[in-house]
Symmetry: C2
Subunit: 400 residues, 2 copies
Amino acid sequence: MLPVKTKQVFDRQRAGGSLSFESGPAPSNIRCLMPDYPFNSTARELPATVPFVGPETQERARGEVFAARLGANENMFGPSPRAIEAMEQAASEVWMYGDPANHDLREALARHHNVAPENIMVGEGIDGMFGTMALLFMEPGACVATSAGGYPTFNYQMAARGGTIETTPFVDDKEDLGGLLDLAARTKARLIYLANPDNPMGTWWDGTAVAEMIDNVPEGSLLCLDEAYIDFAPPDMAPALDVSSSKIIRFRTFSKAYGMAGARIGYVIGEASLIQAFDKVRNHFGVNRIAQAGALAALKDQEFLGGVVKKVAAARTRIAEIGTAHGFSSLPSATNFVTMDCGRDAAFSTAIVQGLANKGVFIRKPFMAPQDRCIRISAGMPKDLDLFEGALTETLAELN
Amino acid sequence: MLPVKTKQVFDRQRAGGSLSFESGPAPSNIRCLMPDYPFNSTARELPATVPFVGPETQERARGEVFAARLGANENMFGPSPRAIEAMEQAASEVWMYGDPANHDLREALARHHNVAPENIMVGEGIDGMFGTMALLFMEPGACVATSAGGYPTFNYQMAARGGTIETTPFVDDKEDLGGLLDLAARTKARLIYLANPDNPMGTWWDGTAVAEMIDNVPEGSLLCLDEAYIDFAPPDMAPALDVSSSKIIRFRTFSKAYGMAGARIGYVIGEASLIQAFDKVRNHFGVNRIAQAGALAALKDQEFLGGVVKKVAAARTRIAEIGTAHGFSSLPSATNFVTMDCGRDAAFSTAIVQGLANKGVFIRKPFMAPQDRCIRISAGMPKDLDLFEGALTETLAELN
């Protein structure tokens, strides 16, 4: 049997509809057709799900590419031209495997964060590194504590390794730090998941609150602090790095502020023996060589990053203004997206997502109640937001 | 406890010395220093190993890059200029995630192999796809059947998911098809691993022999046929593709003949319900967008591929001639490397590998007896092989 909590998460994701954080084709008819492969107990019960259907799949169904791609929190302002140049140059060297130690990038990240290289591990994006964490910590009978409606790929990766997903609700559209700690203590969760700032809501806790949470992580638990969006946030939103703590591991990425989502490169910061444990199970040669070169160049161009962060902030303001003009209130956001409360039920917000898609504008929406009353729009260029504005006006005219 | 067979494999790898297929830093002092993380039972017992130390690590230790990089079976003749151009163009689009369905590449591969897209799954290189297979099939108590001294990363990935590694010896430097089948039947192995042509020996079975093996895969087992090097081999070395069979899944890659090792892109061909099962556990957004573009362009340039295969064949001949001139006999090879019998013990072949490294020539060697009497040289450009020849002459003069 699929662990009950996991099954609920998958079922609710599936119920979210084909344009929110939906799952792939329903698996109900697979097993009767399937030869009797010697799957393990976990794989035997898992659905063939897809945490997020890509916009390309929708585009193929529509027969047309999206005019504005504002659904995956990609960063259309990046990457740095220096990173692009480094990747172009690396293309002809792709006959070589990348350095499995990720040495140069690890050293540069260590300097950037003022920690030792032994406190850094580089991997195939945060999603890939969640997979590595699952290999280290999950097994049937183990569980994780996360928020109901939080980032689903964390759950997906943990379930793939036999873990059970325990959830506590968002409170006032924010992840509930105390609720997560209580849940972890009650369920003996090995891992606690917190995204700060949060995705899909864009809300956050300040560094002091997160530091207090770290102090109260129960014995036998480890906090996975997903800071994918932290580069867009004010500096005081990240608690101080304490790489002596065995209570926390932090996840960072080149996919968001650095504008390199397609490169699949992320990293973790943590206590040295935990970082070393990644070498037990990680795919050592898993990071693309071109991505390594691009990330190194992107990291060095902090000036460009600063410019991106400013442009994203301006885009957030513009998105919120568009929302206001249409009677929607936007949640404050410390990310590169804005989550907008459409003020009605999930059917309404889903209809908006669908209406926008029909007009060539790709956005997504939270998949679980009560957050699913909202839509989520990534910070695009002015031309993208013009398209969003026009399509929203049209869609609401159709729906009203 | 680490399963005994797995432990033997790791121990023997480690015993192979720092320049063969060695492991990373010995883990013996980790656990006493390590905070008590809630690792699962598998991770708790696994060593922090490295299946292959990268040449960059050796270069950093030497303080100098290798003049000839002939140790990792990389393909210095590739990739196609069209693939490089496609990757250069894709660099500026890296702000977008790659298509998680890998649709275009999957369609092109299906046409290329004359199967349906449902019979193809694309992933992060063969190593990454071994990881996915392990997620589907391994758990504590499950085992795989492979050859003693066969490709170690398969074992590494299986052990990371709790699997036990059962082995049967090479016979006459070839993987023993009957021995693998007997071992699988005896141990109820869920997966059988065969590389054809083989790495690290370069030897092979013809398609008829492999087809007969497939017919005799025991009930409850699945054959993982690693055909990473098949593009270098005569066409009749690959048994006919039968995607109705639930006894076999085939692994192919863009890392070798297509010259894109650093891109991390491979694929599997198999029965549709098995392929669909990958969606239960795979990292859907795991493939680099630039790699997707490069692989698609490389696949379309079969003429370039044909030219590479000819150059590699010429390089194999040259390597064998160099061996003969120094009194070594080379094994016949259907790959992009030549394994050379140095006629003495592992200490001698290790000294040669070390001597070559000291002279700026990176090669590797098999890690397990009796294959470890050999050295393994990748098919390089004429200038690389000139360097190999000179360094081998010098090294043997020093050793004799």
